[in-house]
Symmetry: C2
């Protein structure tokens, strides 16, 4: 069986070799070049185990050092840095792998009884401290990877009842023989779970229409400390506030999602794409806005600023590039593709010649999935390398972009003592706004990387808050985004959410520190 | 100024004359033909007023008998029957017309202090007892019609900040000069408010994509007894459970909505339509399913069963008819219209010849808006005439339709002692299911109409529940749908909602009896 990395992203054998790390860093000015050693997992120093579950729970739990270490963090840059430093002071006391809802109930009952915290864990791909308990209680990580079946397929309604612990590829593998797809492809797709997508309101790879997982939900089933709850499976309803929408984005603080009826789609049969360059990012923004406001819904509509385009090798120096992709299961998409390209041209865009459309998107996609491995390699060279993202309305977008760029670049220079790279792409676009996604690369000082990144991130969050943009469009809140989230959500809503939490989790054992105190 | 009807739907001068009522009923077998007299509003017997507000509140309140009577009920069949019978035992003690948020705060503070109930009232078009207080407390109806401005338009992002008391036509009038539209046209459009749409998760006239108001919301502002709360205006977000989705569908129990930032659209410039007949409703259902699942999004996609088509004069006897309409602000829609028609043909449909496309939709639309006036006229003839609606997934739809038809027809015959009419149309369609809308017409016994309808409705609700369909797709829950809603929503969600209610409305003064006890 292929092995997952316990310290970084994805498959262990996909991690870059030392020589590749050096090679990668060589391209970046001012970066140190000797990669950090990956610690020997057998030699990790982990704290003593404080929990002794009863036999009925113990039989699906493990306390091996490797499992405890691998379940300590998510997969943010901060997490990789800490794992590489061998820092696992707050690792889980044990990791549970329930095979049934009954076993989840047993864990919750036992944990409630002994005063342990419980952190639900899907694929473990959180980049916001969502699966990392930071309190003082003993804690159990509940890894849902054994709840991984497609339980029922309704071909007529194009929907499926699915276990929430299933990872992206397994889900798609089971749907493919039926000609169906969930068509939800976040960057973490290979290593994130349906339950994780639902709990964090994950954003998929597609740029328009159903960007978040939310709209694919027919019904949810959840295990809480107060019992199991399930909503009715419906294509649409107007009966009171949606029960599902209270769970979507609840990040494990209200219960553990076990099953969902999900809306599916036919697999696309028609595709067309194009790449258009713009001398100026502002022109690209205007073009993208005109495209989505005209009613076109490109599956892919990614606008890369000059820095991002150069880094991706997607455009000449100084140019922004718009990568457009259209898809449909039943209808030709050349006409909408051409209509979008024409709008882009009217906004000063130049269609990139001699480029096969399909390749542009494929090249983008494979680079996209490889990105986290490169991130890990750069982290090993001591580079500060992380992303953050937001969303705002069109009227504020350009100013937000430019101030984030200026102020984060200034923060990088202040914190790192040298200039770094601050790039941006629009990942998701709406008729009323867009979601810009920023990448930061800067030379780190050994041992200070976390503090440096926290400083830079604080500067970024400050700009977002000043513009009343969201602290996160699709990375979720977790623990890292709490200061920004606490400024963003209405106080009265936080009080209401606290009241809901107290109702379904009276002892407050579920994922403490996420969303609420 | 044109006058609103105090006992029935819409404009007073649009109500059918006595002779027209007789004419209308003559077409229906077994119906009594003498229309009930409309009571003299000056002679109504209303209960004594139990509330004396302080001067600061009194100055925007009224206690005139006509205002109190007109604010006693919504506009369901049950409401019209009771109004015609002069039954106003539970009318509001007074009607407040706040002009500012400050005045809403003053009403809530005062009502909380004296233990009065508060019922928010937008256009008053509820058909589910949503604005009708049935408890024993003195109560204030808060009519929001003076909060009726478009406050700000952001042309770039195509969004507007709007007062929640504005009615449909006023809103569209203010947006039209900017080339914009909210494009939300429920049947109640002329006499329902933005706040009412939001509080009830109203369904618009369009059949696909954004069927409910929910998806048009950027942010909401609400006055609660615990203070004012406002969400951040965003095109998309993944930061925790959506605060707005907790208020959408809250039907006035959590607060009074005062302002919303709403997403707008360009006005459509391209239109195409078609009517297709089917020998069998089941074929029509299969065609509609194939059309939406192919990725086409007709703005109008209404499938009328044979009875409904005959009543609307839209098809030959025994035929079902599908009315298709496509719209776009920027792109021609003949191709998608033709693609939809081709799918319908492949499912046994016949395109209706010699019919101008645009007229089909226009004819439908004007009949649609006239329907409530006909309903009132029939109610005056003693006819039991009401509608109910639901939604279910495609796999269950045909069976649900057929059992509702059989069992409700049987209930009508049992209750009324004579056969009635039970018709159906699909009003909203989704890739995974549809919303069937049923109309019932049956001969009533004078004085027993309410009990008769309640019996029939109970039979209908029983079938819906048995099929796990929703008790309401877009009419909301109010007080009438409480039994069905209480079976539908997860118990734990009801507990959570109660906890939220206690947080924002600790004394429970807001719209008691709706959604919760």
């Amino acid at each position: 069986m292929r092995e997952r990395s316990w310290w970084g992203w994805g498959w262990a054998d996909n991690a870059l070799a030392d020589s590749e790390c050096v090679q990668l860093a060589r391209g970046l000015p001012g970066m140190p070049s000797k990669p950090k050693r990956i610690p020997d997992p057998a030699a990790l120093e982990l704290p003593a185990i404080r929990l002794r579950p009863p036999a009925a729970v113990a039989e699906f739990c493990t306390t091996t050092p490797l499992a405890r270490a691998a379940h300590t963090y998510g997969k943010a840059y901060r997490d990789v840095v800490r794992a590489l430093a061998g820092r696992f002071e707050r690792c889980p006391d044990l990791v549970a792998y329930p095979r049934t809802e009954g076993e989840i109930v047993a864990v919750l009952d036992w944990a409630g009884g002994v005063g342990a915290a419980v952190v639900p864990y899907g694929g473990g791909s959180s980049v916001v401290g969502g699966v990392e308990y930071r309190g003082e209680l003993p804690w159990v990580c509940v890894d849902l990877s054994r709840l991984n079946q497609v339980l029922e397929i309704d071909r007529t309604s194009r929907a499926a009842r699915v276990h929430c612990g299933i990872l992206g590829p397994a889900l798609e593998d089971r749907l493919r023989p039926h000609g169906l797809t969930l068509r939800h492809f976040p960057q973490s797709f290979e290593f994130s779970s349906l339950g994780g997508w639902l709990a964090t309101r994950a954003g998929g790879h597609y740029s328009t229409t159903t960007t978040h997982i939310d709209d694919f939900v027919e019904s949810l089933r959840v295990v809480t400390p107060r019992g199991i709850s399930e909503s009715r499976r419906l294509p649409g309803s107007g009966a009171g506030p949606s029960p599902d929408r209270l769970l979507l984005g609840s990040e494990g603080i209200l219960g553990i999602l076990t099953e969902a009826w999900m809306r599916l789609q036919d697999r696309p049969a028609h595709r067309a794409s194009a790449a258009v360059t713009f001398p100026d990012f502002a022109d690209g923004i205007a073009a993208v806005r005109a495209i989505v406001q005209s009613g076109l819904s490109p599956a892919g509509c990614r606008l890369l600023d000059a820095g991002e385009a150069a880094l991706a090798g997607a455009a000449r120096c100084g140019e922004s590039v718009l990568i457009l992709g259209f898809e449909s299961p039943a209808h030709p998409v050349l006409a909408p593709r051409d209509a979008a390209v024409e709008i882009a041209r009217m906004h000063g865009g130049t269609v990139r010649p001699n480029q096969d459309g399909a390749d542009i998107v494929e090249t983008w996609r494979s680079g996209f999935l490889r990105m986290p491995y490169l991130r890990d390699a750069l982290a090993r060279t001591g580079t500060v390398v992380e992303t953050f993202e937001t969303a705002t309305t069109w009227d504020r977008l350009l100013k937000l972009y430019s101030e984030v760029h200026t102020e984060v670049a200034a923060a990088v220079e202040r914190v790192c003592g040298a200039p770094g790279i601050v790039n941006c792409r629009l990942t998701h676009v709406y008729a009323d706004g867009a979601a810009p996604y920023f990448t930061v690369l800067a030379p780190g000082r050994p041992g200070s990387e976390l503090a440096m990144w926290d400083d830079i991130k604080a500067a970024a969050s400050e700009v977002l808050d000043r513009h009343r943009a969201t602290i996160t469009h699709h990375h979720a809140v977790g623990r890292d985004h709490r200061p920004g989230y606490d400024r963003q959500r209405p106080d009265l809503f936080a009080e209401a959410l606290r009241a809901v939490k107290k109702t379904v989790d009276p002892q407050g054992i579920l994922n403490p520190g996420v969303l609420l105190d």
